[in-house]
Subunit: 422 residues, 2 copies
């Protein structure tokens, strides 16, 4: 085994679906983040199609430029899965059968009582001296192969959850054992909501000039992140550079910062409620289940989340929540009165400490002059508390944006209330 000094890593994503623009390249994004966590210097990401000549050409080029390349895609059983074959060809190496893998594939199919498609056996062939990366959730294993001095290729499948599992279970440890990084990069991310990227940047303009750590703002829908990246000879010195900047950022931004450790807003709320031993229920009209889904995607949420009502139709609002028909007719389903009534009824019916109700116009139709597309009414009921706010997210937004912004806003309103009542 060698322990080599690392110069740079590249990512190569292989697949016509990426090259043609039919699939967003989320694998490259995910891997790039992982690289920075373990200090790999990362200079280039490339996408090419399932074309053996192009793969060979690229790999030869890359072998002169970097000393580690991580590929995704092209490990499947079909004839257009060409990654291993092409990489081996680039270095004139044959593929040989790894018997243990053929056997494992046989067993996987045996346990599911289905016949083995003959094509799956191609997944058991690798260059002779490659290390196998087991794939616990699929049939395509990966490999770690060093065909020439100072150039290693790691192949991972294109299916994101298989790729991530294999990275986490095998690849990270191999990199730590075999690659020496010259500088450790430490990063910390603060998450903000309820403030725009430019307003946030104005508050911290002087800090954005600092060179180590670097502070970089990134905006996404309803959220801004500040990523603080420090470089040092070891993790401790990098972290020590981050600490004072972190305190200063939090001092200047107050309750706009909802997480210091990349928790989602839903995770933040669940933690806050868990600490208070309080429970939550939801009533969703225009968000149709998205708030509930955000909450229940978190493991262990059952201590806090009691459930909810997807009151998408007025019929559901009346029949399940018992909202008075006249109230809806008089004020409209998207009104302070109805949102409050939905929150109260949900809190009571589900015997929860807190309830959030959302009712709005998500579009693309249904807007009026008074209540345009993007207009959303929130109700929050809690112990001795009944709040209501209305927000206009703007008619230029599409349906899914309005739904996502509504969920974030609802969670943030509850967060701010909980912080005040702490």
């Amino acid at each position: 085994m060698f322990k080599k000094i690392h110069n740079s890593t590249e990512i190569l994503c292989i697949g016509e679906e990426l090259l043609s623009g039919n699939t967003l390249n989320s694998n490259a994004t995910w891997l790039a983040k992982e690289f920075s966590k373990i200090g790999l210097r990362h200079l280039r990401q490339t996408v090419i199609g399932d074309d053996s000549k192009n793969i060979q050409k690229f790999i030869k080029e890359a072998s002169k430029r970097c000393n580690l390349i991580v590929t995704t895609g092209g490990l499947g059983p079909t004839p257009d899965d060409l990654t291993k074959e092409s990489i081996a060809k680039a270095f004139c190496s044959p593929l040989i059968e790894f018997k243990a893998i053929s056997l494992h594939i046989k067993n996987q199919f045996k346990s599911s009582n289905s016949n083995i498609p003959i094509s799956n056996f191609k997944q058991a062939f690798f260059p002779k001296d490659s290390l196998i990366i087991p794939n616990p959730t699929g049939t395509a294993p990966g490999m770690i192969w060093t065909p020439i001095t100072d150039f290693t290729i790691i192949t991972l499948p294109g299916v994101p959850f298989e790729m991530k599992n294999m990275w986490n279970n095998t690849v990270i440890q191999w990199i730590k054992d075999n690659i020496t990084v010259d500088e450790i990069v430490s990063t910390k991310t603060l998450s903000f909501t309820g403030i725009s990227e430019s307003l946030l940047a104005d508050k911290i303009r002087d800090l954005l000039e600092i060179k180590n750590p670097i502070i970089a703002p990134y905006a996404s829908l309803g959220e801004v992140k500040l990523r603080i990246t420090a470089k040092g000879p070891d993790l401790e010195s990098a972290n020590n550079l981050i600490k004072p900047i972190l305190s200063e950022l939090i001092k200047r931004t107050g309750d706009k910062c909802f997480s210091k450790n990349e928790k989602t807003l839903a995770e933040t709320i669940i933690t806050l409620l868990e600490e208070r031993k309080e429970t939550l229920a939801v009533a969703e009209s225009c968000t149709g289940g998205k708030l509930g889904d955000n909450l229940t995607s978190i493991p262990g949420v059952s201590n806090v989340f009691k459930g909810g009502i997807i009151a998408y139709s007025n019929f559901a609002k009346q029949e399940i929540l018992g909202i008075n028909k006249e109230l809806i007719n008089h004020h409209g389903a998207v009104s302070e009165e109805v949102a409050k009534a939905m929150a109260i009824a949900t809190k009571e019916k589900l015997d929860a400490d807190w309830a959030i109700a959302i009712s709005g116009i998500a579009g693309p139709s249904g807007g009026t002059e008074q209540k345009p597309i993007g207009f959303v009414q929130f109700g929050i009921a809690g112990p001795n508390l009944l709040n209501s706010i209305s927000v206009n997210f703007g008619s230029h937004r599409d349906r899914i944006e309005i739904q996502e912004l509504s969920v974030m806003r609802a969670l943030n309103e509850l967060r701010l209330i909980l912080l005040k009542k702490a």
Copy 2:
């Protein structure tokens, strides 16, 4: 003006936020689709950071490989915007001021009554013989520049809506006028569920050998797609190559194919129900709102979707759906009996024609030997129909995978029932 035969186009996206994985590269995806619409042969996409030396190195490499490169990013006013400067340097060309653009920038700021940041003037500098791509919605114009024979560079900004506007308003026409494409590409995608990628490939092995059109399978969680790509001198001849293959694929795969036009499973169900003028309601335990969210993300779903109950806790199952406490205690919340009772109650309470109920163990805790993590029970109630199935998605799956697979399976079960009752 030259009218040249086109060999290949590449995309170069420049930006630390892409390289670091903080932003998904949606620009490359969008441009790649545009390329195939106008017949540009596209071989490679690359992401590099805001580093002048790397940009220069890359552009020199690319000039030997392709004859058109479209770049995004790095046209802004800040010091880390280096695209034009680096490209010009790669060909030892100076940048000169285009007076009309300086004037335009002045006018833009005058009309908004704000001072011009001095840095904005850098956006008026271009190589001498470049064509300017106006940017109607921002301050950064792009350029079309041919520094050497048979190699043209098109620079576009990184802000997606500016980039798209400039592509649509100026670039497409320039390409049509100046580049002769030898082939038009047409694609069609079939979507499948309830079949693995390798089983599907086995059914169509002979068709996968065909060279025009090419059939490429892509697997994602719970779904496989077959993308059929044909090349021809014009769109009609390309489409004519696709037609017989499409019929043959559908003939061999039967009801496993749920969409011929890239609809989601939820969209497919909504369309089926709309045609039948029938309505749907849901009861979700372990999926916590994800099924409702999938349905309500579709515009115009209100004709079909009546709402639902997020019966995440047993309390919610009893109090809102009226499920008998003894039934839950005796059979367990994840049982055929309870799933059926949930479906019946939901159908009745929401006065819907169809109701889907999902109850399962999404993990990471809560599994038993009989009902391990990944075990999910479905109930479907409809006109004179009450079905129940149980599925074990496997304990190796994570919570979100189990939730997503459950939603897909529930929708597909209903789809198969509706097809039989058609």
